[in-house]
Subunit: 594 residues, 2 copies
């Protein structure tokens, strides 16, 4: 009795642990872990603050919304996340999607966060994580590469200080080149300098040799300095640019486009806006939802895709397991709660997750430090953000998205599997039209490529003893294939006039649907009209049941070819005798022979 | 030489005949055919005129547009059609779609016709008729049943003379019941009378015994009178209702809602409107196209679906063949040319095709008579249309769509194949939201049902000699299945700690995509981390080529199980010796054993 209750308690605890993964690592937490988590959390924090400002601008929202979006994920993921490395927060792709679906209006962005959170939670509870299986690698690559180009180019106008450039990519390229003469020199110089500095620091980081305990202390310290500088490069560059702008401000002139006034303090905790008052009247919840349209499917799914893809990549690299449905719940909760503190939709960030992993984070507790850092900057630093030049933030974004563009994939697919270039190219090019169309088109095209073998199965056609046609579909028999099968039969029976028996071998057919049964029933009738017989052999039990339930007129089936042939021969001789007798009433109504 | 040129001429003529099917029947045309075609053409004409007026109202356009849409199809189909029975023209479903996508504005309707025609022509030239294969029977049934309910209910408000009822189905039901008190008694009485008359005449027609030459002449004549009356019932009922309304008009009072003034004369031949001038400024071609959105896919596809479904049904009944791509061309041309004479999109009409077939039409020439009749009524009868009560037209539509509702299909699918109820119900219920969503959702759901076996293939898992896991996927290995395969391997290797070799048998894998290769490559690395070995056997040539081109790290393959086991055993004993020697450098980097 006691044993059983113990067992039950164990199982309950297992379930709770599965849903609250923090319980797995917290009891084992040690001082050494704390040390490493602290460093990682600080480093990620120094990356997320400048990125948050930049991504808010990319999403078309005031900069403080970037910071509002950056801390909830840290706290929630610490409790619910299954990967030690992943950090949730604003990302370039999500900001791009928000800029499409929130119409540069915080109310829409926050409502989108709330609804995305609810949808992700529902998907997590319904175990819909498997939907990701239908997004193939070429579609992901096509999408991320196109997004990198779109986002990167989107920042060129900010880097050059151009104003009033349209949002649509093609128009953006056109107008940016048209109005390149209006470039603000100071913005362009500063922007390019920041870009160069960021690229240089990144290169430096990559070329640092791996730390080796054998080397003298001085070498190791200098390596550490370089590594730290390079890792927090975003914060350093933005800080430097801000100082430059501040110096100009003090001297009385300001050549740069600045971030401007940012409201100080933490966001208030309030319900997300379920309706919006505009000068033209109130827009109801339904109206807002309708306006966001496909965004309500694209944003939650892309959020999920980014998080799970990143979690899987780092789990595989660092050799641990993640649970996609639990990730979905973690992200859903983050967005759901985030919408109460004016966050826009967040997801896993590849760049910051990499920083987190490289600084040697041990548990999701590192996120707590990051979150606190973001809260502190909201509380005390917003007045400083006034001086950050927009061009510097643009440089941060360009450097963040550049590695997402992967030109090699085109070559790789050409070498390995050319057919996969189709979904890749479709996704890539449609994404320049509208991101969501690219993803939808890519998924549809890869779906069609999957369905092709179902719609056009290999059908073995043999002529057997002159007057019998033997037909055997290689795989299942589903509705898209039925017209094709009928055409095959039709063509053969029309070209070979001496054929009079058709045997359909369903040995490989493990399942059949109603449309296919109906098509076969029509084929049966058509052949009866033409005085040809059609018999079925090798029907598996569940397929036979469907045929019998459908009650096909003139349906004959036999276990195997031998029985079918024997029966057909008997009928033949039977009819032969009947014809000799001069009577034709013996012919079955289904017209077994011509 | 002469023989060859003769052969070439023959072949050319064959191709021309295929594209201009009129050449097949015209040379054989006889006086007897003319007689039957004449009767059929007249009968269809007497059906199409009242229906055209009613469908124009359903489409939300002035009534003359129904007639404008009714004659081009007759002429074009006579030249290009491959079925003797099909008649093209306005239909209930197409009118419903037009009312969704043309916003009750003739300019949009005509542009939609033009673009649908172009799309259908392009589809015909590209032989895209096969796309119809992906619309399964449950989706078609769900759509037509829902459309019948929607259209039928849509007419209730007209039948009762209610005004200002919203278009959306749910709201329509709600408001119709709310405001049933505002019913105009005269409209309701006349409408219900027409409905009863039409239903009664239809019942009469169905109960006429088949004509029998043995019966006395008087019986045969009376049967003919009843049959004719019942067949042209639409025209008779509308005529009667018009006469009643006219009598009231003469006496000075008018209790009915009338059709009102209809512009006289034939439509002018002019370019379709490629832009529109509104009080708020000009809407460009791009703006109009964007506003119609999904309609540009739904309208051409549904048009094609209706025509081909009807053509196939009658071809099978009357035992002839049709060519779906040629039907597509015929309909594309009809819509393309129709847009120059202010037609809205047309397609094959089931009701009128049935009338055509029943009156014994012999060739598509019957359509010529129908077309001339429509032109004559446009030229001379429009002043008479003023007096047609709208309630009578509503009754015509309700009787036309009632047979489209098929409640039995729910029961049939429950009996035969319950899984097919899913796409049926999804289509049926989504259609009440918006018709296009219903069709799209239905096609997607049936696509997912098709993809399920690809995403979750049966995988045979056997343990072999204690330490070897043998895994064999039953079908192909495509990207949606790869995560599932990895999970299967992961679970088995985690639960059975003594396993150290995994053999993946790809005998049944005839094709593989890049995502799947990448997934296997990641699995390979993951297993190497865990010191497990994975080898492939039974790779077909084309699959092996993909693997080799991808250059997987640690990829080992063998022709069959025996070779694989032999090699694994050798490595085992090899390692055993190495361990005895106290050296571990002999272990391959891929870590063949634990």
């Amino acid at each position: 009795m006691a044993e059983r209750s113990h067992e039950c308690r164990e199982r309950c605890y297992g379930i709770i642990q599965k849903r609250l993964p923090v319980l797995k690592w917290l009891p084992k937490y040690s001082l050494q872990w704390l040390q490493l988590d602290l460093v990682a959390g600080l480093t990620v924090g120094l990356t997320v603050v400048p990125q948050a400002l930049a991504y808010a601008a990319l999403a078309g929202l005031p900069v403080q919304y970037g910071l509002y979006s950056s801390f909830m994920g840290c706290f929630v993921y610490c409790l619910l996340g299954t990967s030690k490395d992943v950090t949730l927060g604003p990302t370039a792709i999500m900001s791009l999607l928000v800029s499409s679906y929130a119409f540069h209006d915080p109310s829409y962005a926050i409502l989108l966060t709330f609804l995305s959170g609810c949808i992700q939670l529902a998907m997590g509870l319904l175990h819909l994580g498997f939907l990701l299986d239908f997004i193939s690698y070429p579609v992901i690559k096509g999408f991320t590469s196109a997004a990198a180009v779109t986002i990167g180019f989107n920042q060129v106008k900010t880097l050059l200080g151009l104003q009033n450039i349209p949002r649509q990519f093609i128009l953006q390229v056109y107008y940016t080149f048209c109005r390149i003469g209006e470039t603000r020199v100071a913005d362009a110089v500063l922007g390019l300098f920041c870009l160069t500095a960021l690229t240089g620091l990144q290169q430096m980081k990559e070329s640092i040799p791996k730390a080796n305990r054998m080397e003298p202390l001085s070498v190791r310290i200098s390596q550490l300095v370089v590594w730290t500088t390079a890792t927090v490069r975003n914060a350093l560059v933005v800080l430097f640019a801000g100082l430059v702008a501040y110096s100009f401000q003090v001297t009385g002139s300001q050549p740069f486009t600045l971030t401007g006034v940012t409201p100080q303090g933490l966001p208030s905790f309030q319900l997300p806006p379920f309706s919006e008052v505009t000068p033209n009247g109130t827009i109801s919840f339904g109206g807002m939802v309708q306006k966001m349209g496909a965004g309500l499917a694209v944003v939650p799914l892309m959020g999920l895709l980014e998080t799970v893809a990143i979690a899987k990549a780092f789990a595989s690299q660092n050799n641990y397991q993640i649970d996609p449905n639990q990730e979905l719940l973690a992200m859903g909760f983050t967005n759901f709660l985030g919408s109460f503190i004016s966050s826009f939709p967040v997801t896993g960030s590849f760049g910051r997750t990499a920083v987190n992993a490289q600084t040697g984070v041990c548990t999701p507790a590192g996120g707590l430090i990051t979150g606190v850092l973001v809260l502190l900057s909201l509380a005390f630093l917003t007045s400083v953000f006034f001086y950050i030049p927009k061009a510097a933030l643009a440089a941060v974004i360009i450097c963040a998205v550049a590695p997402m563009f992967d030109a090699r994939i085109f070559y790789t697919l050409w070498q390995v599997k050319r057919l996969d270039l189709v979904p890749l190219c479709v996704t890539f090019f449609f994404c320049f039209w509208e991101v969501q169309y690219g993803i939808i088109a890519g998924v549809l095209v890869s779906g069609i490529l999957l369905l092709y073998p179902i719609a056009r199965p290999r059908i073995k056609v043999l002529e057997h003893e002159q007057e019998t046609l033997f037909i055997q579909p290689a795989g299942g028999l589903y509705f898209p294939a039925i017209e094709f099968l009928r055409d095959t039969v039709r063509k053969r029976t029309q070209s070979e006039s001496r054929l009079c028996n058709i045997i359909l071998d369903c040995t490989h057919v493990s399942s059949i649907d109603y449309t296919a049964v109906l098509g076969l029933s029509e084929l049966l009738q058509e052949l009866q009209h033409r005085k040809l017989s059609l018999v079925f052999i090798g029907l598996q039990t569940q397929v036979l049941q469907v045929f019998l339930a459908a009650g096909l007129e003139g349906f004959h089936h036999f276990p195997n070819l031998k029985d079918a042939e024997k029966s057909l021969e008997e009928e033949l001789s039977h009819v032969g005798e009947a014809l000799l007798d001069g009577s034709d009433s013996i012919l079955p109504t289904s017209g077994i022979i011509q």
